[in-house]
């Protein structure tokens, strides 16, 4: 389904993805200004002494040169070096510029503290903002030396990074450096933390998606690392912080997960190994870093682990780039191309940083760029994760709406069908019932009334009375079978039994009723029940009129899925001809309902038996 909205949507994100890495590079290029302070102002000569004293020491000073450089005193809790610098006379309005501070500083001139340090204790304060200290002309004139104490946790520092330059130049450089060294990392930190929290929230909403979880974890880890650095980093020793530098590269694992997930590459084993190795290396590295400050052994472990980790992450980066390359060829769309582009930019910047580290002079810039550029793919992942989450939520909502609509329409359909069916069913049942009633009236009552009419014409009053009684009895059966409350055979039989008992008694008959409970519980269709009762009535009437016996056995039982009704008398058997009409009637009725009629005569007893196969479509057990 392509709509104008979705096209604009796609274009917007494509532009964003393609622009993000380029914008990042452009920003770096724009923001990272080279030092404008000429190299001539760099401090090139100084005296030094390694000392933990709070004031400049009076003796032990050594000149700084290739063979004499400050070394770390391992018995001290941290490295503390005092430098003594002669202020050049030719600089107008001189100021001390530390463009790239990485520790705690104390600066004295003529017994006066020009830069007040943070407390000198472990873990040391970690200053990241450039320092500019105006030196004042009067002090310079007296020729007093400048004392600079540099305190760091991990290693010594070079005095050569420092400048004594005109204050205006120094201030401008410091302000420009402030952007790259302080504000840019803070901006990245805010960005990362926001993304990390957003994705973490999505992870908690949809737990089955591990990619969200890993993304949130690594990005927040990195954010924590940056926050620690920017805030002055007094939580851990510096080794630990540098260790975190490497550990925060575990976002590469997330990237691998993400690519696999995104391009639907199933590699659970690879993912598991990568995760295990990264976690193991991180644990070893941070473990070594924890003790590296006070132990030469752990310091060397730390450096070994750091090397292994950098090689590992570099290898990972190459594997990921390769995967990208393969995957992008499989799926050539904006999303994948932009991811690949971002990745390429990261690799390029990584190479630039390496060259910068090795001091290749043609490399522009003043800082490592990877810390800023690596955020770009993470940002893109984040956006894509959020987008996908939103897409899926919307899709789920659409599906839901669609489903509801479908259910509603189906329900309406069903209702309509069911109403129509009910109506038709009712009409059908009504028609059936009406035709049954008509047939019953026709066959039974009609015939009997015509018979009665003929009898009355002939003046045969006794016969007439009998015929009318028969008609009335039949009508009673019809009425019983129609009664809505008498729908089981039991109820119908009860009514019949009640009625016939008096008559039998008057006729001098004794009756045994053997009605099995289970058989009487069967509910037959009204016409079936009526036929059974009519057969029974006929049989009883025949017996009373013709058998000349005085006992009846009326039996109802259920055997072999057959309902069996029998009427047995103890009379003289069926006299041929006499009961012929009654027997014919019974046979016709039995045929109508698919039952079998048997007449058994044995030692003076006559049994009339109806066997009705129980078709369970017609029968319900109540």
């Amino acid at each position: 389904m392509i709509t104008a909205h979705s096209v604009w949507h796609k274009l917007f994100f494509a532009a964003l993805y393609l622009a993000a890495p380029l914008v990042a590079l452009a920003l770096l290029y724009q923001l990272d200004q080279p030092y404008e302070t000429p190299e001539s102002y760099r401090i090139t000569s100084a005296d030094w002494v390694v000392s933990m004293t709070n004031d400049p020491p009076t003796n032990g000073w050594k000149p700084l040169n290739e063979t004499s450089r400050p070394q770390r005193d391992r018995s001290a809790p941290f490295t503390s070096v005092w430098f003594r610098v002669q202020i050049p006379k030719n600089v107008e309005k001189p100021a001390l510029l530390i463009p790239y501070p990485r520790g705690n500083y104390d600066i004295r001139l003529d017994g006066e503290r020009l830069f007040v340090p943070k407390p000198m204790r472990r873990p040391l304060h970690f200053r990241k903002r450039p320092i500019v200290v105006p030196l004042g002309t009067s002090a310079v004139a007296t020729g007093e030396p400048l004392y600079i104490r540099v305190a760091r946790q991990a290693s010594y520092t070079e005095i050569r990074y420092l400048y004594i330059a005109p204050v205006d130049l120094a201030l401008r450089d410091a302000n420009e450096q402030l952007v790259m060294q302080y504000y840019a990392p803070i901006a990245v930190l805010v960005l990362m933390t926001t993304l990390g929290l957003a994705v973490a929230m999505m992870f908690f909403l949809r737990r089955q998606q591990a990619a969200y979880g890993w993304y949130a974890l690594t990005i927040l880890l990195w954010g924590f690392h940056t926050a620690h650095a920017v805030s002055g980093g007094v939580l851990f020793n510096h080794f630990f912080w540098y260790g975190l530098n490497y550990v925060s590269l575990s976002w590469l694992v997330t990237e691998l997960y993400f690519i696999n997930h995104y391009f639907e590459i199933r590699a659970p084993r690879l993912e598991r190994y990568v995760l295990m190795i990264t976690a193991g290396l991180s644990a070893l590295l941070l473990g070594a870093a924890t003790f590296a400050l006070d132990s030469v052994r752990f310091e060397s472990y730390y450096y070994t682990m750091a090397t292994v980790a950098s090689l590992w992450f570099m290898a990972l980066a190459f594997v990921i780039t390769g995967r990208y390359f393969v995957a992008v060829r499989k799926r050539w769309d904006f999303d994948s191309v932009s991811l690949w582009l971002a990745s390429a930019v990261v690799i390029g910047v990584g190479i630039r940083d390496l060259l910068y580290e090795f001091g290749v002079p043609q490399i522009p810039g003043t800082v490592y760029y990877l810390q800023f550029v690596a955020i770009v793919p993470l940002l893109l992942f984040g956006i894509q994760l959020i987008r996908r989450f939103a897409d899926e939520s919307r899709k789920a909502e659409q599906l839901n709406t669609e489903l509801q609509r479908l259910v509603a329409s189906r329900t309406a359909d069903l209702e309509l069908t069911s109403r129509r069916l009910t109506k038709e069913e009712r009409r059908r049942v009504l028609a059936e019932e009406r035709s049954r009633l008509m047939r019953d009236m026709h066959d039974g009552l009609g015939g009997q009334l015509v018979h009665a009419l003929a009898l009355s014409e002939q003046g045969k009053d006794r016969d007439l009375e009998r015929s009318l009684r028969l008609a009335l009895d039949d009508l009673r059966l019809i009425v019983d079978s129609l009664s809505p409350s008498e729908n089981s055979l039991q109820d119908l039989l009860a009514s019949y039994r009640h009625r016939v008992s008096k008559m039998l008694q008057r006729s001098g008959f004794t009756v045994d009723w053997m009605l099995e409970d289970c058989a009487t519980q069967i509910a037959l269709k009204p016409n079936t029940a009526l036929s059974i009762l009519r057969i029974m009535q006929e049989a009883v009437t025949n017996a009373v009129r013709h058998s000349s016996g005085d006992h009846l056995l009326i039996k109802l039982c259920e055997t072999d899925e057959q309902l069996q009704l029998s009427v047995t008398d103890n009379g003289c058997g069926i006299e041929a001809g006499v009961a012929e009409r009654g027997l014919r009637n019974m046979r016709v009725r039995a045929d109508e309902i698919g039952a079998q009629l048997d007449i058994l005569t044995r030692s003076g007893k006559t049994e009339i038996r109806v066997s009705l196969p129980l078709d369970f479509q017609d029968v319900t057990v109540i």
Partner: protein
């Protein structure tokens, strides 16, 4: 049975009325003191006569006789009313029994049966057809009874009475019921009379209760 029983007949179909009258007159123990065809005539006649037994058809040209039955049984409970009916088990007969009728006769009963039925009713035996028995069972079954008024509970049937109803609902005669319960026919008769009385009283209480619920009667009643 030395006394002559005075019978009152309300039946609109003239041949049926005459047939009934003829059949009863044939027996020396009965005297038909009035035989009328409308409710209005019946009211007039009942003002003048005090019959021992009333035979009443329900559907009459000037209305249904149920109200008349209720009136009569309230004023003169000693003279039982028997409903004359073709089938004996319609809803109408049940309604009449609830109104106070003590039983029913079938219009085609022979004279013998007619006499027998009247004697039985005067002895307190009321006939219970299976349909009526079923109706009563449904009515008194606690599970189906919904929020009965207190009056109805007072007239709940005893286990024995319930048993009689159950056997009657299966179509058993008095004799068969008595045999099955191991009691005399007279005892069964006593049970059935009690059942009828309870039914009448409870239905009256029910009617009263419902009327009160509807606010048709003052609370000072």
């Amino acid at each position: 049975m030395s006394e002559i029983i005075d019978v009152f007949i309300l039946e609109d179909d003239v041949p049926t009325r005459q047939s009934l009258q003829r059949r009863l007159d044939a027996d020396a123990g009965f005297s038909v003191i009035a035989a009328v065809g409308t409710i209005a005539q019946a009211r007039t006649a009942l003002g003048a006569h005090k019959p021992d037994v009333l035979l009443v058809d329900l559907q009459l040209p000037d209305g249904n006789a149920t109200a008349l039955i209720r009136e009569h049984t309230t004023n003169t409970p000693d003279a039982p009313v028997l409903v004359i009916s073709v089938f004996g088990d319609e809803e109408r007969v049940i309604a009449a029994i609830e109104a106070g009728a003590r039983g029913y006769l079938l219009k085609d009963d022979s004279g013998e049966e007619l006499v027998d039925s009247i004697h039985r009713v005067r002895n307190g035996e009321s006939p219970i057809s299976p349909a009526i028995a079923r109706h009563l069972i449904r009515r008194y079954q606690p599970a189906v009874m919904q929020k009965p008024p207190a009056e109805t509970l007072e007239h709940a049937l005893s286990d024995r009475e319930m048993e009689v109803l159950r056997l009657a609902s299966k179509g058993l005669t008095y004799q068969e019921t008595a045999q099955a319960l191991g009691v005399t026919v007279n005892t069964v008769g006593t049970y059935t009379r009690r059942i009828y009385t309870k039914l009448e009283v409870s239905s009256r209480a029910q009617a009263l209760f419902e009327a009160r619920q509807l606010g048709l009667m003052g609370s000072d009643e």
